[in-house]
């Protein structure tokens, strides 16, 4: 008998939800065959069978919340599968085991604490335990409830869920969606956030791209897009205006001398922001390759938590969906986020003449606690300059 355990979920990820079992009790499984899909705040991950044999028990049912190390189910090694064709249950066939209450913690939870959790929805895994080996006592749980009641109800949930009317559907938010919601709201509640705008003439970059896109692709095996230019431009602008690459920690400011640029990617399940590491060391091709690899992982649900941690600045491109103008929300604790938008031919006055130019509005949302207006505007103008005249990137101007 081999236990299927919840794997380590990564830094700062406390729990996961069992999204899907790919096998039923009684099914034959192969070692390393995918059995369970877990969903965490940040990523989905797969749990594979620890052995060849038969899935004999599902302990954590779909929708259950599990902690690292918790038992998910059991595989009996070497056993033969029960016939999958309709057949009377033979004596030897393992009966489906009713899933017991979700495994709430690695250490067993005291009966009183289980009762409190069940009645109040208190997440006991977040309560600091004062009992033996850090176990949560009834007193700890009661104190946590009191603290919860005393905390200002920022978004007090309605006491009873409102009825769902006809022509409405009630759907449980995925963990990813809940995390997005929480983090966006936290950013808004914390930062003194405002947005400055500019517009950029894309003529030069588009010309460069058109001229070299085929050779580029042939040489580097990746398409030349606009994003790499913007990453490069932002890195240079961040070097010029270091405040935008800083974050607040208590009463200190932390200035980062590395440029890890988060690139927001829309996926089926929601927005994720994988990070292009050390972008200042990468060529345009290197950046395109990094973005391509991360984007594929995101769409396949394969992003690891490491892929999304530690960015210093973020770029969000609403233009791919046609957005003309937006005010992006910061990706806390970062102090700046660049919004790219749709490229649109517009009449511009150049040298006293009205000419048609491919234009893009740029938005920089920034944390005014860290970045002054002058810095923010300077940053955005620098990005505009680099894009309008990409040779500056080459010359570090």
């Amino acid at each position: 008998m081999a236990d299927i355990m919840t794997p380590a979920l990564g830094e700062s990820v406390a729990e996961a939800t069992v999204a899907r079992w790919t096998k039923k009790v009684g099914d034959a499984v192969k070692r390393d065959e995918m059995l369970i899909e877990l969903e965490t705040d940040k990523v989905s991950l797969e749990v594979v069978s620890p052995a060849d044999g038969v899935l004999t028990e599902i302990v954590a049912a779909e929708g259950d919340t599990v902690l690292p190390g918790a038992l998910l189910g059991r595989v009996t090694a070497g056993a033969a599968a029960s016939p999958s064709s309709p057949a009377p249950a033979p004596v030897a066939a393992p009966a489906p085991v009713p899933a017991p209450a979700p495994v709430a913690a690695a250490a067993p939870v005291a009966p009183s604490v289980r009762r409190i959790a069940a009645e109040t929805g208190l997440d006991t895994s977040t309560v600091a335990g004062s009992g033996k080996d850090g176990r949560v006592t009834k007193g700890d749980a009661l104190a946590a409830l009191e603290a919860r009641a005393a905390a200002p109800a920022v978004a007090a949930a309605p006491s009873a869920p409102r009825p769902v009317h006809e022509r409405e559907d009630r759907v449980k938010m995925t963990r990813l969606r809940q995390t997005i919601a929480r983090r966006l709201k936290e950013a808004q509640n914390t930062a003194a956030m405002l947005t400055t705008f500019n517009e950029v003439d894309m003529t030069a970059v588009m010309a460069l791209r058109n001229q070299y896109k085929d050779v580029f692709e042939k040489r580097h095996g990746v398409k030349l897009g606009f994003m790499s230019f913007f990453v490069k431009a932002c890195v240079e602008a961040l070097k010029d205006v270091p405040d935008v690459n800083a974050e607040i920690d208590g009463t200190d400011l932390i200035y980062k001398n590395h440029y890890d640029i988060g690139v927001a990617v829309g996926t089926e399940k929601g927005l994720v922001v994988p990070v292009v590491r050390d972008a200042e060391t990468l060529s345009l091709a290197g950046i395109e390759k990094a973005i391509g690899a991360l984007g594929k992982k995101a769409r396949d649900g394969q992003l690891s938590i490491d892929d999304m941690q530690g960015g210093t600045f973020t770029i969000s491109n609403g233009g791919v969906y046609g957005s003309l103008m937006s005010t992006p929300i910061l990706n806390a604790p970062q102090s700046g986020i660049l919004g790219m938008h749709k490229i649109q031919d517009r009449p511009m006055v150049v040298g006293g003449q009205i000419v048609v130019r491919p234009m893009m509005y740029l938005a920089l949302s920034y944390d005014h606690r860290v970045v002054d207006g002058q810095g923010a505007v300077t940053f955005l103008v620098k990005v505009k300059d680099y894009i309008e005249d990409p040779q500056r990137l080459l010359l570090n101007l």
């Binding site: 005291a110 009966p111 009183s112 009762r115 004062s130 033996k132 006592t137 009834k138 007193g139 104190a143």
Partner: protein
């Protein structure tokens, strides 16, 4: 001779358990005992033989007083020599068992009286007078305790006896006076009362069993009185005159007043125990015991490097299981592990009938500390198993913090409660609340259900009373 890692002076519960643990952890260890048998006071002249006598005398009393109620007729009589012999046989077998355990764990059991002979040296004087000196890195003092003498009442082990003598009285006394209403006096007094003696307990304080929860002690005294024990509380013993056939005691009210004389066949002095630390060579390593003979310790370390102390020779309750816990923790610390004893949760048991058992704080201690608490109580009269066994006396009382519901103390008087207190020791070690016990399934019908019902009582949902 090769150097030892640990030499333990004393083969009682503190010493022999330390020795076994040391053996388990791969230390080279010797255990010195001069008594001739292992097990210390507890096994040779204390807990164990007294339980043998308590069990036998309880069955005797049960047969003559309660069997008829259950439809069993007939009279049984006491064969005292056999009763004493079966006790001695059990004790001997158990001492051999410990000897085997020491051998199994590769402990050198050295017969003789041990004393410290300077840093890292322990002298052993064998019965034949030869002396050897052991070299060791660590010395553990586990010499235990002895009965405290009472000035003016000199123990001769003939008519004036201590707890050791009370286990081998060769006849059933007609009358016996027990000086001291503590656990030892009440247990041994109960033995001889059941066998036929008229027992009077004389106590200086105005209550019995100091340290026991006051409500429980009051109930306990009422039950013992009903059984025929007489109590003279608040009374001082000022002198004793022993003859060949008995003892004349002079008593005075503790608060002052007229003296009186009390005659008895035997007088048992059971006013407490004192550490046994004389003649141990403490001066050779600069250890100075306190006035009463206790050796101070900090996590079992004495003031002398490499010298440790466990059990009755140092502070804390003078109980075999406390000494055992001390011994294990001390060895673990010597071996670089995290040995620890939770002195707040050392249980106490009085092995009378009914038994009394408690752990944690009593109501008086909680009040004195200003801790707000709730109490849940359940009587054994309402417990089905106790009822059908005709054992309805007593109760279980659970005290829990008024805010957190954490169990702070449990006090029980009733049938075999000593066997059941361990449940609450475990619960409290894990900081359990009364609700945790109340929501834990207990088998029906058992007396242990009373423990659960009392826990329910803390939050007002006792169901069976």
């Amino acid at each position: 001779m090769a150097q030892y890692d640990v030499v333990i002076i004393g083969g009682g519960p503190g010493g022999y358990n330390a020795a076994i643990r040391a053996g388990q952890l791969g230390l080279k260890v010797a255990c010195i005992e001069g008594r001739g048998t292992l097990g210390g006071t507890c096994l040779n002249v204390g807990c164990i033989p007294s339980k043998a006598m308590l069990h036998a005398s309880e069955l005797y009393e049960l047969a003559n007083k309660d069997f008829a109620k259950m439809g069993i007729d007939g009279k049984v009589t006491v064969n005292l020599p056999v009763m004493l012999q079966q006790k001695a046989d059990s004790v001997l077998a158990l001492t051999k068992g410990i000897e085997f355990l020491l051998k199994k764990n590769k402990v050198d059991y050295i017969k003789g009286w041990g004393s410290i002979a300077g840093p890292g040296k322990v002298a052993v004087k064998a019965e034949d007078g030869t002396e050897t000196v052991l070299d060791t890195l660590n010395i553990i003092i586990a010499t235990g305790s002895e009965p405290t003498p009472l000035p003016g009442v000199d123990v001769d082990q003939k008519r004036i006896i201590d707890s050791t003598g009370a286990l081998v009285i060769p006849e059933i006394p007609k009358s016996m006076v027990v000086i001291g209403a503590g656990i030892i006096g009440l247990e041994l007094g109960s033995v001889w009362r059941r066998l036929g003696a008229e027992v009077t307990v004389v106590e200086y304080l105005d209550r019995i069993t100091p340290g026991m929860d006051a409500e429980t002690a009051k109930t306990f005294q009422r039950i013992l009185t009903k059984q025929g024990v007489k109590f003279k509380l608040g009374t001082k013993v000022t002198g004793a005159k022993a003859s060949k056939t008995g003892v004349a005691l002079t008593l005075e009210p503790a608060a002052g007043g007229d003296a009186e004389t009390l005659n008895a066949d035997y007088v048992l002095v059971a006013i407490g125990r004192r550490p046994y630390t004389d003649g141990l060579g403490l001066e050779t390593v600069g250890i100075v015991p306190d006035k009463r003979g206790f050796i101070a310790n900090d996590h079992f370390k004495t003031s002398a490097p490499g010298v440790w102390v466990v059990g009755d020779a140092t502070y804390g309750p003078m109980l075999a299981h406390k000494a055992e816990d001390d011994g294990v923790a001390c060895i673990e610390l010597i071996a670089g592990k995290a040995g620890h004893v939770n002195y707040d949760l050392v249980p106490s048991v009085v092995y009378t009938f009914p038994e009394v058992a408690w752990v944690g704080k009593n109501e008086e201690e909680l009040k004195a500390a200003g801790i707000a608490y709730k109490s849940g109580k359940f009587p054994f009269t309402a417990n089905s198993r106790a009822k059908v066994n005709h054992e309805g006396e007593g109760f279980v009382k659970v005290l829990a913090d008024a805010t957190t519901d954490q169990i702070l103390g449990v006090h029980m008087i009733g049938p075999q409660v000593g066997e059941m207190i361990g449940e609450y020791c475990v619960a409290m070690e894990f900081s359990a609340s009364s609700e945790d016990v109340a929501r834990t399934s207990h088998p029906h019908p058992t007396r242990s259900e009373a423990l659960r019902q009392a826990a329910m009582g803390v939050e007002g949902w006792t169901m069976q009373a």
